[in-house]
Subunit: 266 residues, 2 copies
DNA sequence: GCAAAAGTGTTAACAGTACACCCATGT
DNA sequence: ACATGGGTGTACTGTTAACACTTTTGC
């Protein structure tokens, strides 16, 4: 009745996820704040190819799941996090990007609150730093011992994502496959998503101070903001809880929550 | 050496493309302008499944091409258009969305200038009209004889695209597969992309009047704009060519082009 | 002249920026 | 008291919205 689709060659399809979180050191002293640290979840590969190198969490799609469900299942296994909203980032499909054969990667990104996640064995958080340098990007990933994994990424288009670079499949230093490029694209998209604060809320607990929210912005955008202006900008999206943060050695902060009549999407 | 990826079940992958264009009737009279009409390219399916129903152009991905290259090849076959920039829209992967089996659709959208395209046999342009109605969308596609194909689409999230609706695979009236939903998502994304005028330029010839550009906006956003304000808004993106449109029965319009120092991406 | 379309100017409202200043707390 | 962070007001600037007005053409 129908054409037999299996007469055509078929690819394997993976879901790969860039998971960002904000980790916060405790206060440096009773009266000094410390900035949160933008971090990404990476797996040290236990198997071929690229054994021992760092890679994004993800896995092969199977018939019983949508791609997003595969991503959710993998995230549940690695972090215990339940079904965070996923943003589609890009599809990478150039033959040669994976030495095992024809493998298409559907890439997503998401944000989770650090205290909600317990990472399992070979999954670790790495601090993310991105620097632009005459058209290329320098991506530095730093583990908790201070070891830095540097990758240089050149994006073909800009962050508009409708194209993919020829060099995408060359593993960059300690990052397997084209995963360095994926992380760079995800960070660029995260930054532009901060025009609205929905993404930032996902990095904070339900109640937060406006300073904490501002620190999320400063961490992601990698620049300082003026408090008065920032507060006016996000005022429509938050509401006071009535509660107060205590014991911080200064004027106590009001605690806010996101307004529930605004969308949670990122 | 490596795990054998072919031991897992593998999906077929298709690239589907929502191609928009702006068709312009000739002037209704020597002194009345007529609005351009937003149109989308659809194929009347010559084969099972859904024979005779309308569907998006697209085709199965093969090993030798990236997904974008497959999309480009299919567009070349249907319209003769050479490699327009593609914007990633969504991946649809729910089992059951295609009766032939496990088929993942990678959906893109793009814009082309009408005069550049020659459609082949069973490909036709359909006028697009979208109406929101308490959370659902009514999509009306009209052929050149005035026949209307109506679909009702309910998006699970909004236009943020990280989810897909359970009913996605139910063919909507005359649209095969979940293609009605894809067109709705593409139109919503096209609308929000008009914050910058790059997308609009792709619907016009190299030289155009500001009124033509404004008509593109009004056509896509489906609302009237004020001329003076519109001109100020897009002024940074265009420049005068020095030439003048003649023979229109009114004060002649200056012809503009897009400034070449701004990105062409959509 | 006149209808239709091209194009400009004027104003008020609003959002973004920079900065000055006051408030509340733990030591 | 004082240092530190929390929080507000104000003045300046640029952008957007609404509307009134002038210009140029073919008939």
């Amino acid at each position: 009745m129908y054409y037999d689709i299996t007469q055509y060659d078929q690819p394997s399809v993976t879901a790969d996820i860039v998971v960002f979180t904000a980790r916060k050191n405790d206060r440096e002293s009773y009266r000094h704040l410390s900035m949160p640290v933008l971090s990404v979840l990476l797996i040290r590969r236990p198997e071929e190819p690229y054994t021992g190198m760092l890679s994004l969490p993800g896995g092969f799609c199977c018939r019983e799941e949508t791609i997003e469900e595969t991503a959710h299942r993998k995230l549940r296994e690695k972090t215990g996090i339940k079904e965070p909203p996923l943003s589609l980032l890009c599809n990478l499909s150039k033959l040669g990007r994976d030495p095992r054969g024809w493998i298409i990667s559907c890439c997503y990104w998401t944000l989770i609150e650090y205290s909600n996640a317990q990472t399992e064995k070979n999954a670790e958080w790495y601090e993310v730093a991105l620097e632009e340098k005459n058209g290329s990007y320098i991506l530095d990933l730093t583990d908790d011992k201070g070891k830095v994994y540097r990758s240089e990424v050149r994006l073909s288009g800009t962050n508009e994502l409708y194209n993919q670079s020829a060099e995408a499949y060359i593993p960059q230093n300690s990052l397997a496959f084209d995963h360095a490029e994926i992380i760079v694209r995800a960070l660029l998209q995260l930054r532009s998503s901060l025009e609205k604060p929905y993404a930032a809320f996902r990095l904070l607990p339900e109640q937060f101070t406006l300073t904490e929210l501002q620190q999320i912005y400063e961490m992601v955008l990698d620049k300082k903001l003026l408090m008065a202006n920032f507060r006016r900008k996000i005022a429509p999206y938050v509401e006071e809880t009535g509660e107060i943060e205590t014991g911080a050695g200064h004027r106590p902060s009001k605690l806010f929550r996101r307004r529930t009549d605004v969308s949670e999407e990122i």
